[in-house]
Symmetry: C2
Subunit: 260 residues, 2 copies
């Protein structure tokens, strides 16, 4: 396919590279900032543009990988070209595009991207939604060119998926940060915790989290929990978080036992 990339952020960068590697042609890369567009365009041998009126019409697909709040505005400007367009957001309804064109879909990669780190795209789950079955099929084929994990997910489910991703990625990363702060306060290095963090994520790759839950809360070890709260004496927000999460884990235990 001939593909035009709208945006030059993390998702745009990784998707453009994956499409290019799979043999597709990246026609142009658009960014409001021409330097950002040029950087990505150079890597995928495309033309850089910073004006949506400069779009090359010889394209099959617009991939709109921009912030949620401007997806609609971009779609409105691209509608006149009457090409298939998709956005890449977990949080935005397909309707954001359908308001301007029926020839629309969603191409949501469920992964956390950073420009500094390569990602093996073949393992990135891609969540596809099309305005009709023909589009869904077309997008699914494109998705299968770059990933082994392709799912058809409607807008309602995708929003839940995006929320779940916040719990599975953004929140754990923040807890890693809190752990690192606790160590730093005592002059210890984050390196001590890195193997534990990795092993915790690896354990749930073939088990369910409830099956491998460890720690004082799941043992209902009240002495240790009381002592931990005492250690957090001067950090009331961390105490609140500790209590809330521990209560959840204790309840998990009860629920699990009931289920047996």
């Amino acid at each position: 396919m001939r593909i035009t990339i709208i945006g030059s952020g993390n998702v745009a960068t990784h998707l453009a590279a994956a499409f290019k590697n799979a043999g597709h042609v990246i026609v142009q890369v658009y960014s409001r900032n021409i330097q950002n567009a040029a950087l990505l365009a150079y890597h995928v041998k495309a033309e850089a543009i910073d004006d949506l009126n400069a779009v090359n019409e010889e394209t099959d697909l617009f991939v709109i990988a921009v912030k949620d709040d401007i997806i609609g505005k971009i779609a409105e400007q691209l509608a006149k070209y009457q090409k298939l367009m998709v956005h890449t957001s977990g949080a935005t309804d397909l309707y954001a595009l359908l308001a301007f064109s029926d020839n629309a879909g969603v191409f949501y990669p469920l992964q956390t991207f950073s420009k500094v780190k390569e990602v093996d795209f073949s393992k990135v789950p891609l969540c596809i939604e099309g305005a009709n079955e023909t589009i869904t099929t077309q997008l699914t084929q494109l998705a299968q060119d770059i990933s082994q994990s392709v799912y058809t997910v409607n807008s309602e489910k995708r929003k839940t998926l995006h929320l779940a991703a916040v719990f599975a990625c953004n929140f754990p990363n923040y807890l890693y940060n809190l752990a690192q702060q606790l160590l730093m306060q005592q002059g210890m290095e984050f390196d001590m915790l890195r193997p534990l963090i990795l092993e915790t994520a690896q354990k749930v790759q073939n088990k369910l989290p409830a099956q491998v839950q460890t720690g004082p809360a799941i043992r209902n070890d009240e002495n240790t929990m009381a002592f931990h709260l005492q250690l957090l004496n001067h950090q009331p927000q961390l105490q609140q978080l500790y209590t809330l999460l521990s209560q959840g884990i204790i309840k998990l235990d009860i629920d699990e036992r009931r289920a047996q």
Copy 2:
């Protein structure tokens, strides 16, 4: 060294195997339950016992890998043999042993173990504390036989480390569980989130968590956060958790900016 293992749980099992693999002799394995003792003893070619009066005195070290609340009781019974003894707990003070013997230390592996999964012990951080410098040196050498990451950590710091491990391991695993529940409610599979979870943990292996924080809260994307809270409409505990964690992440952003 000739080593006697007290306990047959996850830590006892993995430590005994690591010592054995490094060429040490496991003399005996003690458990209240002789079948559990026998199972582990078989794997490390040791004798199984279920009576602390049956201890073979030709040993150099007792490794007390039992629940925190019975460490003291075990130490009291082993003191008469006048051998070096260590416990393996993050949460318990060295004093739990010193109350009965000066010949004591701590050998705390900072990792989450499950019997079903092999662990590369060479990458497990080992936190060592000795009642005196001679013991610290001796335990450090033993630790270096089985791991490349050996730290000297006193009881006070170790307790903070244990608390930090709860934030870095037990709490993230619980959040994985919540994410899985959210997917399940909509008929989606946990497999969709597994690559994201692994990548999130891999990202902090050479970056600090604050450097790679993503998601609506760090962007202060109020629309998405409000929408997520609405999705959690009938789950007030998850709403509370979402709000508390998001507030922390937003504050992280402010703190980071101030630091620049």
